[in-house]
C-alpha cells in the first residue's frame, strides 16, 4: 500500500498499527485534548502524544450520564470513547482549558475513566507578557511533572530535536497546502483532512517520512478543475471528513481551512535555535493564529481567514460549528458577517460532532453552492 493510501486509511485508537507497535515496544502514550498542548514536550520526553478524538463514535449514552444534552458533542463523544474503554491504551492524559467543556473532561475522566496519570495545563484567555509567562511556567511544570511521573529526563537537546521533527511536518503540510492553490487541484479537501488527521495519532518521525512520500505521489497526479467553487472551511475541530465530502459532493472543492487541527497547527514554525527551547515553544503556541477562546483577537482571526481565503483564491467560506459550542457559536457568526461585509460569501453550518440528519446538512450546503456558483 502506498504511503498516501496508508495515511488516508490510518485507523484511530485501538486499531491503529503504529499505536500497537509503539505499545508493543513498551512505549507510553499521553493523550492531549487541544492544539494548545505542547506536543514537542511530550515527544521530547520519549512519550507518544495522541490527540483525543472520537472518530466513529455515534452514540453518547454512557457519556450523557455525566455530560448533559446542553454540552457540546465533541467532549461527550471523547468521554464516551473513554468510558467504553477505547482509551485504555493511554498512560497519561493531558487536559487543557482550551474550552470550558473540554476542560471539564478532567474531573469526570479522573473519576470514571481513570487513566494512570492526568495533568492540567492552563492557558490564559488573552495575550499579554504576564499571560505568556504564566503559560511558559505551566508547560515547564508539565515537563517536570512528566519527568517525575514517568521517570524520564527531558533535556534542552531533546526539546530542540523534537521541535525540529514537528517543524518538519509543519513544512511538509505547508507544501501540501501550496499544492492546492492552483486551479487544477491534485487532492480533495476530505483527503487532505485525512492526511492531517493522521499526524496526531502516530509517531511524528514516521509520519513525516510517509507524508514526504505521499506528497510525491500527490504531485505526480494530474489534478482536477472540474468543480463549481473553491471553498475554505473554518470553525470547530473537524474530525469527520464526511462533512467535507458532502461539500465536495455538491461540487465544492475544499482547498484550504482555518481549522485548529488543520492549517492553524501547521501554519507557523517554532524557532529552531536559541538558548531556551521552552520559551520558543511557549511563544509559538501562545501567539499562534488564535482560537476563538482567545479574547481581543477577533480582528486577527478575521484577518487570518481572509488571508487564507485570498491565498487559496476561494469563492466561498463555510464556517461549521458544533451545537452548544459557545466559542465557535459566536465566532462563526461574527466571522460570517465580517466576511460578507468584504464581499466574501460565507455560511454558518451547525452540526453535531458525529454528523447526523445528513439530508438537512446537504440542503444547506447545496443551497450555498447554488448561491456562489450559479449555473
Amino acid at each position: 500500500m502506498s504511503a498516501f493510501a496508508e495515511l488516508l486509511a490510518l485507523p484511530s485508537r485501538g486499531e491503529n498499527p503504529y499505536l500497537q507497535e509503539w505499545k508493543k515496544e513498551a512505549g507510553r502514550v499521553v493523550g492531549v485534548t487541544c492544539t494548545y498542548a505542547p506536543e514537542e514536550i511530550i515527544a521530547a520526553s520519549g512519550l507518544l502524544p495522541y490527540r483525543m478524538e472520537a472518530r466513529g463514535v455515534t452514540d453518547t449514552g454512557l457519556a450523557d450520564v455525566y455530560f448533559h444534552r446542553f454540552n457540546c458533542t465533541f467532549p461527550r463523544s471523547v468521554l464516551q470513547a473513554g468510558l467504553a474503554g477505547e482509551y485504555d491504551f493511554l498512560d497519561g492524559f493531558c487536559v487543557l482549558n482550551g474550552c470550558e467543556q473540554i476542560r471539564r473532561l478532567y474531573e469526570v475522566w479522573e473519576k470514571h475513566v481513570n487513566t494512570d496519570y492526568q495533568y492540567m495545563i492552563t492557558i490564559p484567555h488573552s495575550i499579554s507578557d504576564a499571560g505568556l509567562a504564566w503559560y511558559k511556567e505551566e508547560i515547564f511544570n508539565f515537563k517536570e511533572d512528566l519527568g517525575k511521573n514517568f521517570g524520564i529526563r527531558c533535556t534542552n537537546e531533546d526539546l530542540w530535536k523534537a521541535i525540529k521533527v514537528y517543524n518538519e511536518s509543519r513544512r511538509l503540510v505547508q507544501e501540501l497546502y501550496a499544492l492546492r492553490k492552483d486551479d487544477s487541484v491534485p487532492i480533495t479537501g476530505s483527503d487532505a483532512a485525512r492526511l492531517l488527521f493522521s499526524a496526531f495519532i502516530m509517531p511524528r518521525e514516521k509520519y513525516n517520512a510517509l507524508l514526504k512520500e505521499a506528497l510525491e505521489e500527490i504531485r505526480s497526479k494530474d489534478g482536477t478543475d472540474d468543480y463549481k467553487a473553491r471553498i475554505l472551511v473554518g470553525g470547530a475541530a473537524l474530525d469527520d471528513p464526511q462533512l467535507l465530502e458532502i461539500i465536495e459532493g455538491q461540487g465544492g472543492m475544499v482547498v484550504t481551512d482555518t481549522l485548529c487541527f488543520g492549517s492553524r497547527s501547521f501554519g507557523s514554525l517554532i524557532e529552531e535555535d536559541g538558548d531556551d527551547p521552552l520559551h520558543a515553544i511557549a511563544k509559538h503556541y501562545y501567539n499562534r493564529n488564535p482560537c476563538p477562546r482567545m479574547l481581543g483577537q477577533f480582528k486577527n482571526r478575521l484577518g487570518y481567514t481572509e488571508e487564507m481565503a485570498q491565498g487559496a483564491r476561494v469563492d466561498g467560506v463555510i464556517l461549521e460549528k458544533i451545537v452548544f459550542c459557545d466559542s465557535h457559536g459566536v465566532d462563526t457568526t461574527m466571522l460570517a458577517d465580517g466576511l460578507e461585509e468584504k464581499g466574501m460569501p460565507a455560511m454558518v453550518l451547525e452540526r453535531e460532532y458525529a454528523l447526523s440528519d445528513l439530508g438537512r446538512l446537504k440542503t444547506r450546503v447545496e443551497a450555498f453552492m447554488e448561491r456562489i456558483a450559479r449555473g
Binding site: 450520564v65 455525566y66 455530560f67 448533559h68 446542553f70 454540552n71 457540546c72 467532549p75 482549558n97 474550552c99 470550558e100 467543556q101 471539564r104 473532561l105 478532567y106 474531573e107 469526570v108 473519576k111 492540567m120 492552563t122 490564559p124 484567555h125 488573552s126 499579554s128 504576564a130 499571560g131 504564566w134 476563538p292 477562546r293 479574547l295 481581543g296 477577533f298 480582528k299 451545537v323 452548544f324 459550542c325 459557545d326 466559542s327 457559536g329 459566536v330 465566532d331 457568526t333 461574527m334 460570517a336 458577517d337 454558518v348
Partner: protein, 469 residues
C-alpha cells in the same frame, strides 16, 4: 425622588427604569397598613394612587412581585432592595452625567479600584438581569435582539439581555469593557462581540486557575495590569485615599454579608427567600455606600427575626430546608416566597450567594495591601470562584452549604447556558449524596428568561416533589 434628575437620553432608559422602579417600590412600601395590592382596591386603584410619572413604571413591574414585597415579613428586605436600586442607579446616572469614563465590567470583579480611578463602573450583566427581576417582560426584548443578530440560543441571558439593550441603545455605550476570563466561554464571547461591534477597548483580568499562592500572585499582577491599561485608555489614575474609601465600603458590605450568611445556619431560618437573587446581583455595588447599607439592612432584618425565634413560614408548617445548588431564578422572585407559604420550604443558600469567610476583609494599610486583598476577594467571588479552577472548590462549596445550613434537599435548577454546570452536575450531586446523604432534585431553567421554564411549570415541579415526600 425628584424625577427631573432623570436623564432624557435614550441610552439612560434602562437605568432610569431601575431608578423609578426603586422609588415606586418605596412609595408602595411607605403606604401605611397595606399588605397586598388588594388592600388598596387592586392594581388599577394603586396605579391611580401613584404620581403620574410612575404609572408607566407600574405597568412594567411584575404585579406578583409587588404583592410579595408588601407582606409584613418581606417589607424590610424589600425596602433594602428597592432603595438600593434607586440610590445606586441614581449614583451611576449622576456620575455618567458628569461625563466620567464609563466601564462595563463582568459582575464578579471587585470594582473598588475602578471607582478609585474616578471611573463609572457598572456590571454589564446587571443592566439586563435586573429587568428580569423587576419586570413582566424581563429582559426578553434584549435577549431576542441579540439572537436576531444570529447568535445562538444557548448563550447566557445574563449577557445576551444586556448586549441586546446595547444594540438598541437603551443602555450607555461604555468607554471600556472589563472582563474576567472565568467563568465561561458564553460570557467571554459576548464581551468579544460587544467589543468588536461597538469598537470598545476590552480589558481582560485573567482568573488564575488555582486557589493557591501562585494563583493569588497572578491575580494581583492581573489587577495591576488592568489598572495600567485603564490608565492608558482613560487617562485617569488610581487615587490611594479614594481606593481606601471604597474598600472600606466593601469591607463593611462583605462583613455584613458574612454575618448574614452565619444566620442562615439557624433553624428556624431567619432570612426570607425572595430577595436572594438580588443579594448576588447587588454585589455589583461593592465599593459604594449602597452595598454596605443593603447587606446591613438584610442582616438586621434576619437578626431581629432570629432573636425572637421568628420564622419565615406560616404557623404550624414544618420547615423544609432547600439549598439552590446551582442557581436561583431571577425572573420569578415570588416563587421563593410561594415555597415558604405553600410548602414551608425555606431558602438556605446557593453557590451564587455563598462567599467563603476567608474572602474576608481587605487590609487598607497601603495600595499594595488593598490590591492584594482585592485580588484575593476577586478569586472568591461567586461563579468565578467555582468555575475558574478544579471542581473540588465547587464540590466542597456544595457540601459546605448542605452541611452548614442543615439542608434537606439540594435543588439543582441548572442554568441552561452553564456548560460547566451541566458537565459537572452528576459529580456534584453524587458527592453531596456520598458526604451528606441529602437527595437532589434536578431540573432545567434559564435564570433570566421565564419563557424557558415558566413560573407555573416550576411550581408544578415543586408540588410534585413535595407530594412525593
Amino acid at each position: 425622588m425628584d424625577t427631573s434628575q432623570l436623564s432624557d437620553r435614550k441610552d439612560r432608559t434602562i437605568i432610569n427604569n431601575y431608578m423609578k422602579s426603586g422609588y415606586m417600590g418605596l412609595l408602595l412600601l411607605e403606604m401605611e397598613g397595606i399588605t397586598s395590592l388588594a388592600d388598596l382596591g387592586g392594581p388599577e386603584a394603586i396605579r391611580g394612587f401613584l404620581p403620574e410619572e410612575f404609572q408607566d413604571t407600574f405597568d412594567l413591574v411584575q404585579l406578583p412581585l409587588l404583592d410579595v414585597i408588601l407582606k409584613e415579613k418581606n417589607r424590610a428586605s424589600a425596602k433594602a432592595v428597592f432603595r438600593t436600586a434607586m440610590d445606586y442607579f441614581e449614583l451611576v446616572n449622576r456620575e455618567l452625567e458628569a461625563g466620567k469614563p464609563h466601564v462595563q465590567h463582568y459582575f464578579a470583579i471587585a470594582p473598588e479600584f475602578m471607582w478609585a480611578m474616578d471611573l463609572v463602573p457598572v456590571a454589564h450583566e446587571a443592566l439586563g438581569a435586573i429587568s428580569s427581576i423587576f419586570y413582566r417582560e424581563g429582559c426578553e426584548a434584549g435577549i431576542d435582539r441579540t439572537l436576531a443578530e444570529g447568535y445562538p440560543d444557548h448563550l447566557c441571558a445574563a449577557q445576551t439581555g444586556s448586549v441586546g439593550y446595547l444594540l438598541d441603545g437603551l443602555i450607555p455605550k461604555p468607554d471600556v469593557l472589563v472582563n474576567n476570563s472565568a467563568p465561561c466561554d458564553a460570557s467571554n464571547m459576548m464581551y468579544e462581540y460587544a467589543s468588536n461591534k461597538f469598537d470598545i477597548p476590552l480589558v481582560m483580568i485573567e482568573s488564575p486557575y488555582y486557589q493557591n499562592e501562585r494563583g493569588w500572585k497572578y491575580a494581583i499582577t492581573e489587577i495591576k495590569r488592568a489598572i495600567e491599561e485603564l490608565e492608558r485608555i482613560t487617562g485617569h489614575t488610581l487615587d490611594e485615599d479614594k481606593l481606601r474609601e471604597h474598600v472600606e465600603h466593601s469591607n463593611e458590605a462583605i462583613s455584613y454579608f458574612l454575618k448574614l450568611q452565619e444566620l442562615k445556619r439557624l433553624t428556624p431560618m431567619p432570612d426570607t427567600g425572595w430577595h436572594r437573587p438580588a443579594d448576588t446581583l447587588f454585589l455589583i455595588q461593592l465599593g459604594t455606600p449602597m452595598s454596605a447599607a443593603y447587606y446591613k439592612a438584610l442582616y438586621e432584618d434576619a437578626k431581629a427575626r432570629a432573636d425572637r425565634q421568628g420564622s419565615v413560614i406560616p404557623e404550624g408548617k414544618k420547615e423544609k430546608r432547600l439549598a439552590w445548588g446551582y442557581a436561583w431564578m431571577a425572573y420569578d422572585l415570588p416563587f421563593f416566597d410561594w415555597l415558604e407559604e405553600e410548602h414551608g420550604a425555606v431558602y438556605t443558600g446557593d453557590v451564587l450567594t455563598y462567599i467563603p469567610p476567608h474572602a474576608g476583609v481587605v487590609d487598607t494599610t497601603s495600595v499594595e495591601t488593598m490590591i492584594e486583598g482585592l485580588a484575593w476577594r476577586f478569586m472568591q467571588m461567586p461563579m468565578g470562584r467555582q468555575t475558574m479552577g478544579f471542581s473540588d472548590v465547587w464540590v466542597n462549596d456544595f457540601v459546605t452549604i448542605v452541611k452548614q445550613f442543615k439542608v434537606d434537599t439540594l435543588v439543582l435548577a441548572g442554568h441552561m447556558a452553564c456548560k460547566h454546570f451541566w458537565a459537572l452536575n452528576k459529580l456534584l450531586s453524587d458527592k453531596v449524596k456520598e458526604e451528606t446523604g441529602v437527595p437532589t432534585l434536578r431540573f432545567e431553567v434559564d435564570m433570566f428568561d421565564k419563557r424557558f421554564t415558566p413560573g407555573p411549570e416550576m411550581r408544578r415541579i415543586m408540588n410534585e416533589y413535595f407530594a412525593s415526600q
